[in-house]
Symmetry: C2
Subunit: 468 residues, 2 copies
Amino acid sequence: MSELQPVLLSGGSGTRLWPLSREAYPKQFLPLGSDDTMVQTTWKRVEPLTSLAPIVVANEDHRFLVAEQLRQIKAPTPKILLEPVAKNTAPAIAAAALCALEGGTDPLLLVLPSDHVIANAEAFRNAVESASAAAEAGALVTFGVVPDAPETGFGYIQAGAGHGVVPVQRFVEKPDAQTAAQYLAEGGYYWNSGMFLFKASRYIEELQKFQPAMVEAVKQALSAGTRDGDFIRLDKAAFAASPSDSIDYAVMEKTADAKVLPIDVGWNDVGSWSALYDVADHDANGNVCVGDVISVESRNNYVHAEGLVALVGVEDVVVVETDDAILVAKKDRVQEVKKVVAQLKHDQRSQAALHRKVYRPWGAYDSIDMGARFQVKRITVNPGASLSLQMHHHRAEHWIVVSGTAKVTRGDDTLLLSENQSTYIPLGVTHRLENPGKVPLELIEVQSGSYLGEDDIVRFEDVYGRSN
Amino acid sequence: MSELQPVLLSGGSGTRLWPLSREAYPKQFLPLGSDDTMVQTTWKRVEPLTSLAPIVVANEDHRFLVAEQLRQIKAPTPKILLEPVAKNTAPAIAAAALCALEGGTDPLLLVLPSDHVIANAEAFRNAVESASAAAEAGALVTFGVVPDAPETGFGYIQAGAGHGVVPVQRFVEKPDAQTAAQYLAEGGYYWNSGMFLFKASRYIEELQKFQPAMVEAVKQALSAGTRDGDFIRLDKAAFAASPSDSIDYAVMEKTADAKVLPIDVGWNDVGSWSALYDVADHDANGNVCVGDVISVESRNNYVHAEGLVALVGVEDVVVVETDDAILVAKKDRVQEVKKVVAQLKHDQRSQAALHRKVYRPWGAYDSIDMGARFQVKRITVNPGASLSLQMHHHRAEHWIVVSGTAKVTRGDDTLLLSENQSTYIPLGVTHRLENPGKVPLELIEVQSGSYLGEDDIVRFEDVYGRSN
């Protein structure tokens, strides 16, 4: 039996869960209905099935998030394939398959979107195991979710006769409500979950038949790519030359070896706030309250509070409070959240893509206060991490360490600061901040000056390869 | 003709507009639907009618707010009567009347709650002028608002026959819906607005008839009270001995000289969020949006945003966002906001009474960030103001001036700090912060220590008479 190679697809930018999910920190990196983030949960779900480290396909911008979140749950060090441009799932999975084949073995790839919920992980693992023989024998197995409602937001898979893993009869596009109801009544139709199991070599073989240019481009992108720690950076020019297509169109709908295993494992793609409401535990009034919520005579609401949220007499409403944006939406209208995001993008506002707390390779900063000529940030530096050696033309900075230890380079001096110690970086002075310790460093930075934009920075050295 | 002496009643604690209005900073001090606060608007509305400075009756806790807000609009220096305990309107107005009589003249008192909206100030001033002759002749005139809806939240006044100032036929309690509708259909019934015009001496005479103990207690409270700058602090023991009663019960319903002038001046007591919605300008979708609001397919909502609030598909909802609490309420259920406040009080939570930004006699502080062993505050010190000479047992403080100039006493040293300068106050060191300048001083304070409660303070000297 071949080893199982989990492939986590982490390409999504999940704006349907705005304002919690934003481009720079989307859904898969959030703890939605769990203490772990969705990418962490996705890995933990399949970890018992394999001794291999995950292969993750991620957006360049999310590389440190992926690495850090998997590190936090002590996952074996992953290979992280970075897509320089988005090309849909077929090339992404091809890159993962080729990468898996590099070791000289031909594992079973278990392809998993990393932003779905599966309530019954045990049942899912059992399903993977029951699909393994067919995949080992050369089938391209997709997992079809037994529908419990006439959903119009998913594609459907019609299964052939029989039990267990059966041939796919056909893939059907997202149906209208009437057709969806008919599928549900008729039976034998399953939601297309986007999860697959097949031998790495079989996927490449079949892709070669239908999309030879794609295979060629991805091979090029991998061989011309650069390896940098855990990251495998696909070559931009080569990858950009690949056709863009989904695995469904490129392979699954064309191959003679498509099979489907119906699963009933509490799957939910959490594609909207109302979906998140549906999968969560409700209180006696039908409310789902995450955080500090006071509810008076209110029913069937979803509330995510980072501060205090009070509800009075409201029903079927979604309230999502974050540091710098609040959403109040009718639960059956949450798909239109994308219009808010579109408006923010149009207005070039940061809330479209960024949270107030911004994650960096070295940690994070949170802009906690701002005035005409000053800004206050809480800066967190991970153990062992280091900001770039830098200089600002328009601002001075005051640093007060409130937790952990800082190593500060200031001009020609080097200082070690611990809790309750401070220093001052005059305008124009070259400086660097490092955390030499074993616990996170937290400091308060007070910037003072006439211009306080993030772009007033001259970087001299950066361990993360950033020049500006 | 006697001079007009405006008396501003500022006793309310307005929790029906929580979370914007809180006990320590209630409705009358907020700019609701205007650039000025309600107490400022109340003064500006009557300023053209008089050359006298206002008499204000206020809660002890609000004394600096009243003084500061009237100073900001360059009102003549008011006399501010401080009630040591709340005793309803009759004693409060008695204190104002006795105070007005101290100068040896007998002015016409114009008694005004300072938390009501009057859309047509000009019409209101005209009404005051047309009521003056009757008041001058000894009548106790109340202003009755011409009703435009069968409101059940107000008491009504039935007027006698005639035009202009006419005798009151009777006062009636808050009616049920059917009775209110009947009043509206019948005509001759007016809302009891709580605004009055009478000679100071006439009020005292009539009060003496019906509540002699009250007059005695208030006279005592005034004569035994202390005068401290603009403040007249009524003697606590004496004032506490006064019966508690409203001017309506104590005087207006009993006197033979009660008269009423019907007015139609766009009056609204802004007694709830829905009332505030009603008086504000609506956009094309019927929304009232104060602040940064993105509205998608949403109608007839009231939104007060301090950050960004996005609405999607909601109708008839009130959303009020503040730094540390958010209210989402159905517009026809906003009276139940008081249940939220009651819950917060029960749980002894600061949001019941305090905003995140807390006003002090010397300025304000805003707690912008907090961690396990640190807290960050933005501190604003008014020009010329001074914090107490103080010391903390459990925390050190880092101060960074970001605007204006600070005079810092630290142990035996005195420093002058300007923008972009900082200092450090070690734990246990006596210190004082002053603003010697002409513009507000803003500084960022980073507290570091094991206990950061406001009660870790030893005060040695305090210009505002606070010992702890």
